[in-house]
Symmetry: C2
Subunit: 601 residues, 2 copies
């Protein structure tokens, strides 16, 4: 099934919902308006449809191999990565001074979504590299920046994030890797890191690892973790590559999905390089502030994982629609034909496809609105505007990550179901998305970790003020919807209102009980995240409905607008409808979770 | 993770909810009371824990291979199947005159659930054999019965069901395989069948295929399909094996899961045997009634697939609990410890485990109550009692199949999530359940097919009378709950009432609109199935709560009873809570499904 980048819906969301015109008014982004976005997205579509997507299935089947520390990437990946570098895609959002194009996140995110949909495994390498660049930009010394960033921005080198150790997953306080300072200002790093995406590969000549480790005198816990750059090959002052550093890939994991993305176990300091025992590392920023810097990468990465959920969902949706149009089976239930028809005619198949589609469109709108908030937060000249946008963006990150990835498991599962028995046969391709998606609610912080963030930092810390401010904006949208002549608008206004009121009940519950009954609140944290993500996405779909109704009335792009209206209506009837049950579960379900004795499981 | 058969909960459900004592009062089942059940289940547990379960993971990794028509089963499967035969497990529920033990389904189903949980792939061979026996018992001539059934009951031979062809999946009207009558009363069968579970293997000396095909003058559609026995090797009059028949395994599928179960493409009539062109087949029953007979197998098989959903869920649950007890990560949210604790302490992990457990216990209770209804229907001397039980059983079959298998995808997915990053690594084993479970809502009729059955034959045909009669029984349970002194009972009474009232609203909607607006009704058919399955399972959990409260008060088996109460409460708070949203979706969501233009997807 050939992949088609969803350029049209991306542009609709950017223009009508995320307000790219306002982003283009921010100094520095003057050239980043709608026309630029359109041109970039169409070019990106060509690259992703033509170069990246065709390697998705083959990469899954013939995935990379490990041989004595050397990892061979899937066939074609090296050439595709070179094409990505050549096209400047790695540097799209990076500063011009390091060779990037300095485009806003709203454009970059849309391009990244395309690459993820085209080939999730492939996309991860440039995503991780982007995260490493971000950490260096934020906290690296000028020397580190100058030495490493340009070759990462150009796509000549790649980057990794080294957080997890066997005993330290969600709980980074347990990190044990060591970094011992040397007289020359460098450190010698040792320890074992696991789950390192693209931790080793043969696509580029060097790999820049960003590694969490403890210095000898560091305090216990997360306040004693520092961040280091550990390049695979040392980099000489003239930029040429030097000795092989003491970091070694002990194995790659046999995984359920994203198989073409090598997940490495990396061993530091086992005297397997050319530098003697201990990998040579360079401190990023100050000692003991590593977690803080890593969180910068993590926040960017969490947003990106949300896009992965969206991307793999889009791909699964396109696959399922294609099959449902082709596969002829059974007569229609309404008797409108005497012969068997394509299964897309059957109401249950339509319901499944619309569920997929509604979730995707809601998530995309939320993600691009979030990207616009990021751009505003980081670049708007008015500090108050920037601050407000930052708070909004930070509220959205756990929703974009958690809601979109949990849904991606549902969406890709529906994609298999639409295919019937064929969906279970690997060759069909639908199963790959189901396997690939399953990591998304886990890595870069499980959904529970996102939900903790939502409950703690994003909701309780300000007593629910931001959550309520967002709800007030949603209420404005309800008012606009209710005032419209269309029945669809009025119905969606009521549905949105019910959802918002449920959200407010839950916010009050969280704020009022998080200290007195934390077990009950955290038993409902994931349902709260799903409720909030559902509401915010539904809010965007409601805004989209109004735009689409107006444009349809004006005769603009009738088929697209009619589909948008139908999808928004479906969102109201089927997706917002989930909120009532989530609310009941949260408000009234904590005690029965606590009641179960642990030894009785 | 060693598997432990859930004997205790099975016995609880059999005794307290499904009424095995009443089954033992039915003539012929006098010896099949609680003590027998206990002895059989404990023996079954030994076999499944000791012999079958250890082959689950190895079978997934080293799954069977195809070589020029010959299929080698996974290592150890042949020996395990011999042990299954030796132990008499294949004939547990079969008539004594054919070498079976004649035990009721209520006991057989519990044993089968254990085998499915132990090893889903392995279990399928005996399940399919059981289905083939059932079809022969129902419609086969005495000669066919005598020649084939004893060796199938003993486990010496296995059986298959051959329905699907590339163009005929859910829609059997499209079956094209041919059967041409010969002068000697046999038929020559030709055509291609796909997705034939254990269609070829080397575990037994012969395989008895039951095949749907059309005779030359058969009418179009489903009324022109006949059923044939086509043995892999012909069987001589003295019972010895004769010529190799003309049925050939062209390939086995590369699947997402249940990999150790070979899924064959079978070609009939390609002159690859020793009998000349055309596989020699024997008509079962009368010509053109094949679908009717096949439905007998299908109904048994659908029930069994429901047990598969239950079984794989149980296995995934046990795996997840084991990991959650071992894995230490992060401090408790309530500050009750300063150190990191096992993740089972964290409320979100408990919520996930309880979701798994509550679904499993509800499904198990529903399945065993269903098995008792089957036993009553087929064996009760009072025709009126039997008829009522048959109707109840038939109402339950789509729920047992659809609800338990859809949930199995959710449950096994939660199982992966509990494991965090480890869950995505194949070696951990959690991913296998996630892959295995995905076929269950598809084969033996997709969830939509089950839902069509529920809407059509089971709900609309009698104007909702049976559905309402079941609701009236649930109302009785509510009354009993409400009258109890416990707060848990009173709360669950209200939750069950709300769920039942939603169910009744939906039943009225279905009955009133199925003719006038079938598209809207069938857009809600799967949500209706999920609602009904949720309600009936929840009803059983409510009954279980009352029993457990009484037994706990009497000091009987305190830990088990306390856990049952906690799980029933959780079911009310978290699972029954889903019904409100499902109801809204069904009652108010049909039009937005219809509104989407097909060409706009």
């Amino acid at each position: 099934m050939a992949f088609k980048a969803p350029v049209k819906d991306q542009l609709f969301c950017m223009k009508e919902l995320a307000g790219i015109d306002k982003i283009a008014q921010i100094p520095g982004f003057e050239d980043a308006g709608y026309e630029t976005a359109q041109a970039v997205l169409e070019e990106s579509a060509k690259f992703n449809e033509g170069v990246v997507a065709p390697l998705n299935w083959s990469g899954d089947q013939d995935h990379g191999s490990w041989d004595n520390g050397v990892v061979r990437a899937s066939k074609g990946f090296k050439e595709a990565y070179a094409a990505l570098a050549e096209g400047g895609w790695q540097g799209l959002g990076q500063p011009a001074e390091y060779g990037g194009q300095g485009l806003p996140k709203i454009i970059g995110a849309a391009c990244v979504e395309q690459t993820m949909a085209a080939n999730l495994s492939f996309s991860l390498c440039s995503i991780l590299t982007g995260g490493a660049i971000e950490a260096l930009l934020t906290a690296g010394s000028d020397e580190l920046k100058t030495r490493y960033i340009p070759n990462m921005v150009s796509g000549k080198w790649t980057g990794t994030m080294n957080l997890t150790e066997p005993q330290a997953g969600s709980d980074l306080a347990l990190v044990r890797s060591k970094a011992v300072p040397q007289d020359d200002g460098t450190y010698r790093v040792s320890g074992q890191k696991i789950y390192i995406t693209y931790g080793e590969h043969d696509m580029t000549e060097n790999i820049v690892h960003l590694v969490l480790a403890r210095t000898p005198d560091a305090p216990e816990g997360v306040k004693g973790i520092s961040l280091f750059v550990v390049p695979k090959f040392l980099v000489n002052a003239d930029g040429s590559l030097g000795q092989r550093n003491d970091v070694y890939c002990a194995s790659i994991e046999e995984k359920l999905g994203i198989k073409a993305s090598p997940t490495a176990v990396l061993v530091y300091g086992d005297d397997k390089g050319e530098v003697g025992p201990g990998a040579i590392g360079y401190l990023v920023g100050e000692e003991n502030r590593g977690l803080e810097y890593m969180f910068i990468m993590m926040n960017a990465a969490r947003y990106d994982v949300g896009l992965q959920g969206l991307g793999v969902s889009e791909r699964a949706y396109q696959h399922a629609v294609g099959y449902a149009r082709d596969r002829v089976q059974s007569r229609p239930v309404d008797g409108s034909a005497k012969e068997s028809v394509a299964i897309i005619h059957h109401p249950d198949v339509k319901r499944m496809l619309l569920t997929m589609r509604a979730l995707i469109e809601g998530e995309r709108a939320m993600a691009l609105v979030g990207a616009a908030a990021y751009d505003t937060a980081h670049n708007h000249p008015d500090a108050a505007v920037a601050k407000q946008a930052q708070a909004f963006y930070e509220f959205l990150v756990p929703l974009i990550k958690g809601f979109s990835t949990e849904n991606s498991v549902e969406v890709t599962s529906l994609g298999v179901q639409v295919h019937g028995g064929m969906g279970f046969i690997e060759e069909t391709g639908a199963a790959q998305y189901y396997r690939d998606s399953r990591i998304l609610p886990i890595y870069e912080g499980t959904t529970a970790i996102q939900a903790n963030d939502l409950v703690g930092r994003k909701t309780s810390r300000d007593g629910g003020a931001l959550a309520k401010a967002i709800a007030a904006q949603i209420a404005d949208t309800e008012g606009q919807l209710a005032a419209r002549p269309s029945a669809a608008g009025k119905k969606l206004a009521l549905q949105l209102k019910a959802a918002r009121e449920s959200f407010l009940q839950v916010v009050d519950f969280v704020v009022n009980n998080v200290k007195s009954n934390p077990n009950a609140v955290f038993a409902g944290s994931v349902p709260y995240l799903m409720l909030a993500g559902n509401l915010v996405s539904g809010w965007q779909m409601a805004r989209a409905l109004m735009v689409a109704e107006d444009k349809l009335a004006a005769g603009e792009d009738a088929q697209f607008m009619a589909a948008k209206i139908a999808t928004a209506r479906f969102y109201g009837d089927h997706i917002l409808a989930r909120i009532a049950s989530l609310r009941d579960t949260i408000l009234d379900g904590g005690d029965s979770v606590s009641a179960m004795p642990l030894d009785a499981f």
